[in-house]
């Protein structure tokens, strides 16, 4: 289907989910997870201010650079790894087909 990609997401119990993601809805990974009712809080609504949508990037896709806001939030968050990103800052685009992510633990 045009403007649809598939993302693999491993939840906190290690279970793999294949998520069908539209790329023409201006959505991000946090919103996609919420739409599948996966355990992602997204407390701040996507402003890079809570880290409840932290994910580890497992595939070698080229993601957009982190903004200053995202860097600052990851600096304050827990369970951060070198491949950590905030799901709300990863916009769903066609070149992310096959992206593999894992939900980070969350204390919030």
């Amino acid at each position: 289907m045009e403007n649809t990609i598939h993302i693999t997401l491993i939840d906190r119990e290690g279970k793999e989910h294949i998520l069908e993601a539209p790329t023409d809805m201006n959505m991000n990974v946090m919103e996609l997870c919420k739409s599948y009712e996966l355990p992602v809080e997204g407390t701040c609504g996507g402003m890079a201010m809570c880290a409840t949508c932290q994910v580890y990037v497992l595939s070698d896709h080229q993601l957009p650079e982190k903004t200053e806001d995202e860097e600052a939030m990851l600096d304050q968050a827990f369970f951060v790894q070198p491949n950590s990103r905030l799901g709300c800052q990863i916009k769903l685009t066609n070149d992310l087909d096959g992206l593999k992510l894992q939900l980070a633990n969350s204390v919030d």
Binding site: E41, T43, G45, M47, C50, D75, Q76, F78, D108
Partner: protein, 335 residues
Amino acid sequence: MIETDIIIIGAGPCGLFTVFEAGLLKLRCHLIDALPQVGGQLTEIYPKKPIYDIPGFPEVLAGDLIHNLMEQAAPFKPGFTLGERCESFQVDEDGKFIVTTNKGTLHKAPVIAIAGGLGCFEPRKPPIANIADFEDKGIEYIVRDPNIYKDKRVVISGGGDSALDWAHYLANGVAKEVTLIHRSKSFRGHPDSVQKAMDMATAGKIKLFTDAEVVGVNGTDRLSTLTIKHLTEGESTMETDHWLPLFGLSPKLGPLANWGLNIDKNSIEVNTFDYSTNIPGIYAIGDINTYPGKLKLILCGFHEATLMVQSAFKRIYPDKNYVLKYTTVNGVTGF
């Protein structure tokens, strides 16, 4: 004792608009908020961000929206208790609620409207299993009284302004020894704060560990040592009297979680007929409530506030009839 018709918990957009809608029905309101200023998230987190989905405003800055809501509520002379967190409530002999804050301020009203948004902002606690054992026994998430660190060994974690500023302050003749531990190499505080702290590290007044993280806390009655994990060199142990993990704030439902309200995933369940909770006389509106089809939008919160005050009116004046009046026809008559 502060007495009013509606105690509004949370002075964000939804709470402020409640004052206006209640005022049209001649009901008085008093707002309580844990933050020291009104506006909730809008002033605390994103005052300079534009909002595009307030009906009639193609674009409005969050801070300006709060300013406008304050102006709109002003004729109805709301009361404010700011910088205090609601802890508990009880019901007095005439059926009215008495709400007590963490500073002991008492508020009395026949109706409570919870417009608490995301909840109260509380310190983010590091995920260390036994950390609670040492809270206020060597581990403090907020510096309340800098004097307790006099001549003590203090370890501070975090890379933002509060970590940098306290490291700088305590290293200036207060603490005996200050260590600053940060997970990466770069600090994200205000450039001036970063520079000051770095200068003191160079001068040997602050011990600096970057690419390091506290992963364990140990002691008998009080905190005595920390386990520090270094990115490359493995783990080490450090003796200390205090540890200040300063990782910013995150919103929590807080004491409201223990009020006996029906809670679903950190939100308060309400009946969409009038946004009443399971406790008669207590309502919940805005981002803090949940119901089938809930959308966390300011405009939905405004709608909820408007319907809620109608029900509050009937509860306060069960024998009075009320007919909806239009502001265009009648204008706005304040108190």
